[in-house]
Symmetry: C2
């Protein structure tokens, strides 16, 4: 049984981990995505189109308008100004602002495409906003999603619960989770793919154990996946990650850089998915306000870390061979996400919103039998850096 | 711990399940595949090209020539005519003949491409022949592989071992496995993908329990995955499967047809990968000679079941939209193989020969966000048949 924090460690926080033991839907009704208009608060969604007679227990409801908050009223979601300053509320506000800003930046640099938006909610509270730009001017596929989830996890999934006396059977643990997650796949093979994800968890104190402590933790990271190495790009990207980390703790960057290299490891290939960045999980052994600021700083660093690279590389001329190599690396991306990524694999198994989970996959990918780049070639250099992670800032 | 039979239930029998507990290689040295010459018994392999500094414990050795048999001498692999009539020997002979004939038929219908061959062996006995045709005239990627494997499985993996007395600790169980597996992906979106796999297992009696029975079983199947339904093709394909089954037992086709629909299920989509065929596993409750004949009949049915469909559809004109739909269905193929297929997932986790395992993946695949075919369209009909399996021969 995966622990709660690991189940959402990837792209798919918007795919709410569903810890309850009720049967899971295999297929959700799908909506043709509406467009993402300039006047964003008045979306009109088209009628959901159903796929033929699939299993369909409706867990999520598609909404025609974005609510101001997905928080429950008891969390300050109504007019409850009392809790408006809570970490939950401030984290939601932060990720929604980051979603807006990143989408605007991507749309601007893309030049042609626009984001389509799906808004969904759950009857008991929580919901999310999925935005996808597909086949744009610069981006092949760009997904930026936020979600707010209320759920119940079985006690086995909650590591803190393990501290309870062995003869005392702990009950299910209610939890709250909010996060932003995004994968941006550009078309040009010299422009790197970016992934980022920042999330915040809280557990409620179980009603029957009023003395139990409430737990919270943060997780997230930003990593990038070029098909070709431009050292100035890699150094730029990593230096922005380091700067964000260094504002809070000088140990963060080296620790989270290594964590990232370790996490995005395609074991059967002996390769990392890309050239890393930062990754952390279960972070709660610092001041909560400090970590909220840290997550905010990291999320706000996405645009300066990424957009200048895209501006520089989006129009670089390329050959069919460059494109084929990018497509092979996209295949590796698919392998990592479907085989190893904990959020994706858990989401698939537990009936999350499939389209939101798999929006992380590239539009297109390629697998050639036994492709080995020529030693010393640019393709070989990238592969070498994926096999042997480098310290980009210390060289 | 998966049982032995399930670990090799898919494409990847040539990727020997490795049950020993020694460290597994993460990366095998790769060879640039040599061509598949007319004079097949004198292959010259080029020098293996290494990827940069990867983990490399060499388990398999690339061979420059195909041996007459991969059996150990004690199995009749040398000049041991004694065992030449054993089921092991006859099964190996059968699958190698089928490999030759299928490759010839594919190469002929392809018109342009030719198979590249990799031959490998293990120091302790066993080995395999991988053949791949890539980017041919008709086929995008076609892999036809045979393997013969000697291994040792932990007692937990061997279901028959469970019958032993609970206080008696069973030792590791030596086993033998041989099989053919193949995935054929044509280019034309109206020409279906085919997968087939036939395998035979035996366990040796452990030395310390001489009275223990030696176990054997058969597994396999043939299934196909069109992107568009031509009912005459589906009926032709299934009727050949049924005819092969009916020669042996009237219950086989309905049982193995359902088993196939159940096995190739993409749970997170609520869809089957394709339009089925037959699938069976752990088959040993019939006469061994009868099952050897049955597996032979099924393997021999691949060409008449598939080639006429390819001849009919390979040149059908198509649009970009047809191609995009095929690519989306290829994406589903990737999802099934990487997320659910027991042979693939086990092979990836235990360090099988990666290139052989993943040759089952299509050359190219596609993922669009929230793609829903228009109700009543040809794409919708295919999806409907993948969600609701049909009895093609009783309608």
């Amino acid at each position: 049984m995966p622990s709660l924090s690991t189940t959402s460690s990837a792209f798919t926080l918007l795919n709410p981990p569903q810890f309850s033991t009720t049967p899971k839907p295999l297929f959700f009704p799908s909506a043709r995505p509406s467009s993402f208009p300039a006047q964003r608060h008045h979306l009109s969604m088209s009628t959901p189109a159903r796929t033929p007679r699939a299993v369909s227990i409706e867990k999520e409801v598609l909404e025609s308008e974005r609510p101001d908050t997905f928080l429950r009223e008891s969390d300050g979601g109504g007019n409850g100004a009392v809790s408006a300053g809570s970490v939950r509320a401030r984290f939601e506000k932060m990720i929604r602002e980051v979603q807006d800003r990143v989408c605007e930046a991507i749309q601007e640099v893309d030049g042609g495409g626009s984001f389509k938006e799906d808004v969904w909610s759950r009857p008991g509270g929580g919901g999310g906003i999925s935005r996808v730009l597909q086949d744009g001017g610069v981006f092949e596929k760009a997904g930026v999603n936020v979600s707010v989830v209320y759920g119940v996890m079985p006690p086995e999934a909650y590591r803190a619960a393990k501290a309870s006396a062995p003869d005392q059977k702990p009950g299910p643990v209610p939890f709250f989770a909010a996060g932003i997650s995004s994968v941006l796949h550009p078309k040009n093979p010299f422009a790197p793919t970016l992934h980022f994800n920042y999330r915040y968890f809280e557990t409620d104190a179980p009603k029957d154990t009023p003395g139990a402590p409430r737990q919270w933790w943060f997780g997230g990271g930003t990593d990038f996946t070029p098909s070709y190495i431009f050292e100035e790009d890699v150094k730029h990207f990593h230096s922005i990650q380091k700067a964000a980390c260094d504002k809070f703790d000088p140990t963060f960057y080296p620790r989270f850089k290594k964590w990232c290299d370790d996490y995005f490891y395609i074991k059967h290939r002996g390769e990392r998915r890309g050239l890393g960045g930062i990754f952390f999980d279960d972070l709660n052994d610092y001041d909560q306000e400090m970590l909220l600021s840290f997550a905010t700083e990291c999320a706000n660093s996405v645009i300066p870390a990424y957009i200048p690279i895209i501006e520089k590389r989006r129009d670089t001329p390329f050959t069919e061979q460059h494109k084929a190599w990018q497509q092979l690396r996209r295949g590796r991306y698919v392998e990592f996400n479907l085989v190893y990524d904990r959020g994706t694999t858990f989401g698939l198994k537990t009936g999350g919103r499939i389209e939101s989970i798999l929006v992380s996959l590239p539009l297109t990918a390629r697998w050639e039998y036994d492709h080995v780049p020529e030693e010393g070639s640019e393709e070989w250099k990238l592969l070498d850096a994926c096999i042997n992670p480098k310290e980009w800032l210390s060289e």
